[in-house]
């Protein structure tokens, strides 16, 4: 069995190096993001890291006018809302992420099902640096 650690620290370290990683069960091949250390399908502890394509589809979304502090600091507000959505990745897992390339001011125009691809988002400096998942609308 692998001695690797399947932690958020590892996930974000990979992400810093532009690697978008999930975990995969070596028993039943189920792929997970968040990177699960235990397979919830077959209960195996035998997992591996696996790189994900970052390609997916929009499952649902919202356009937020009143965000958390770090999004306000990043310049979003009532007049400049941001879109966040649930994205179904090609490999199976679903994740949340900021959705880019859509018209957040006219959310009625945003279509569920549009194809998306990963764009790693960052804000702030040093210890206050935040990294999160973004997805670009694919043309």
């Amino acid at each position: 069995m692998s001695k690797e650690s399947f932690t958020s620290a590892e996930f974000y370290k990979y992400l810093k190096n532009e690697k978008f990683m999930g975990t995969c069960c070596n028993e039943c091949q189920e792929v997970y993001l968040p990177p699960r250390p235990i397979c919830i399908k077959c209960s195996s502890f035998d997992m591996s890291w696996t790189e994900l394509s970052g390609k997916g589809k929009l499952v649902s979304f919202t356009s937020i006018t009143v965000g958390p502090s770090f999004m306000s600091e990043a310049g979003f507000d009532r007049k400049n809302p941001y879109c966040v959505g649930i994205v179904a990745l090609k490999e199976g897992p679903q994740v949340s992420g900021q959705i880019l390339g859509v018209n957040s001011k006219e959310p009625e125009t945003i279509k569920i099902g549009i194809p998306l691809s990963l764009k790693i988002m960052e804000h702030g400096q040093g210890n206050n640096k935040k990294t999160w998942l973004g997805f670009n609308k694919e043309e």
């Binding site: 649902s60 356009s63 937020i64 009143v66 966040v84 649930i86 949340s96 959310p107």
Partner: protein, 421 residues
């Protein structure tokens, strides 16, 4: 919990009370809880000796964050004279109240206690709004769910969008949930907002008239709800009046073993079913239009109580956002999946409808002091089943249900109650 499991002993509610819910800058969690406790003592028909209480269970979301105070349960127990008896705090985000009731119930069923005090308390309004938004986000999965900028309104908004996409649900149905709950809440003096949307519209017009500013005109309540100035978007499609408020408040319940319940009152309310479930963070769920934790909890509760959804006469459900009430009435089996909005549109969940929901005004109008919300629901069902709900009393109710949700359905807890008089 496997099918057909029963509690080791029968448990009844013999007293119930709450503080006013609202904004109380000079009150702390313990001050609010004392108010709820005192209110509860007046509700016990034959009175009780505080010495009879053997344990206290306290629901509290995060006085840690809101007040810098942990170890909440013994402090609450101390303030109402329950030292040196056991006092235990439960935290499951917004489902804390219902799950705390469940622990009190289980403590009696186990034989360890005969009489248990169950309380819930939360003091939220002293933090600035942006800090409250951050504090609430702490209930989501901060590593993988909300770190991309999803707020709680945002999370529920994605469920609303999914429901709209799958079933053709219209924002108007969400708005009608808010209109109904404010109408009910206008009859609830303990609630945060004591005003119907119609009355609110009138008062806004009068204010403008008095100030000499342009008087807003709305054709009807829906028009008001669609007005971006009166009801701005928070997280599309959810607007301000789709969201429950930030609140202070507390609730308190006295539980007794079935065999001694009539020492306290001739009209105890029996808890005949309990169920609890959990779920992954929202993004991982394959269906965003239904809460698995609630379905699991409801199944357990219905089976234990041996009643069907049709037999529920009245329910208090967790309407932290209007979409949540629609999911609730579908997940609880009151209406088929996707048919919740139609039921709302037809008024079936109004106080005079076939399935009255949130006669208290719900979290939307009564307020949502997180740790107290689930307890407040029980207080309403107690009042309704005993026929003591005053002007908002629903007629001919014998079996009631409460539905309390944590986060976006990360926790779900359902209880079923019965009047036997």
């Amino acid at each position: 919990m496997s099918k057909g499991k029963k509690l080791g002993r029968e448990v009844a509610i013999v007293g119930s009370g709450m503080s006013k819910f609202g904004v109380f800058p000079e009150m702390t969690t313990r001050d609010l809880f004392v108010e709820a406790y005192k209110d509860m003592t007046h509700s016990v028909d034959k009175g009780f000796d505080p010495e009879d209480i053997e344990a206290t269970y306290i629901s509290n979301f995060s006085s840690d964050i809101f007040e810098g105070q942990c170890h909440t349960a013994p402090i609450m127990a101390d303030w109402v004279g329950q030292i040196p008896k056991p006092a235990t705090r439960i935290e499951n985000a917004c489902a804390s109240g219902g799950i705390t009731l469940r622990q009190g119930l289980i403590a009696i069923a186990s034989g360890v206690c005969d009489v248990v005090l169950v309380g819930g308390t939360e003091k939220m309004t002293n933090l600035p709004t942006e800090n409250v938004t951050d504090a609430l986000a702490a209930a989501g999965d901060t590593l993988y769910e909300v770190n991309c900028g999803l707020t709680f309104p945002g999370l529920y908004a994605t469920m609303a969008t999914a429901h709209m996409h799958k079933y053709g649900t219209k924002p108007e149905s969400l708005m009608r949930v808010g209109i109904k709950n404010h109408e009910n809440g206008a009859l609830n003096p303990k609630g945060q907002f004591n005003v119907s949307i119609a009355a609110l519209m009138k008062s806004k017009q009068e204010k403008a008239l008095n100030k000499g500013t342009p008087v807003p005109e709305w054709e009807d309540e829906l028009a008001f709800m669609k007005d971006n100035a009166a009801n701005p978007v928070i997280a599309w499609p959810l607007r301000l009046f789709d969201c429950s408020p930030v609140s202070d408040g507390a609730g308190c319940i006295l539980l007794a073993a079935g065999e001694i319940a009539r020492n306290f009152t001739d009209n105890p309310i029996y808890i005949i079913g309990t169920g609890q479930g959990s779920d992954h963070a929202l993004p991982e769920r394959k269906d965003l239009t239904s809460l698995t934790a609630v379905k699991v909890a409801a199944k357990q509760a219905y089976e234990m109580a041996d009643v069907t959804p049709d037999e529920i006469d009245i329910a208090e459900v967790h309407d932290c956002f209007t979409i949540a009430e629609i999911l609730a009435i579908e997940d609880l089996g009151f209406f088929p999946a996707g048919k919740g909005p139609k039921a709302i549109d037809e008024g079936l969940t109004r106080r005079d409808g076939s399935k009255p929901v949130n006669a208290s005004g719900g979290l939307k109008s009564k307020g949502h002091p997180i740790g107290a919300s689930g307890i407040g629901q029980v207080v309403e069902i107690w009042n309704q089943l005993r026929g003591e709900a005053g002007p908002r009393q629903v007629q001919n109710v014998r079996v009631g249900l409460t539905h309390n949700v944590g986060t976006t359905g990360g926790s779900g807890v359902v209880h079923i109650y019965e009047r036997r008089n």
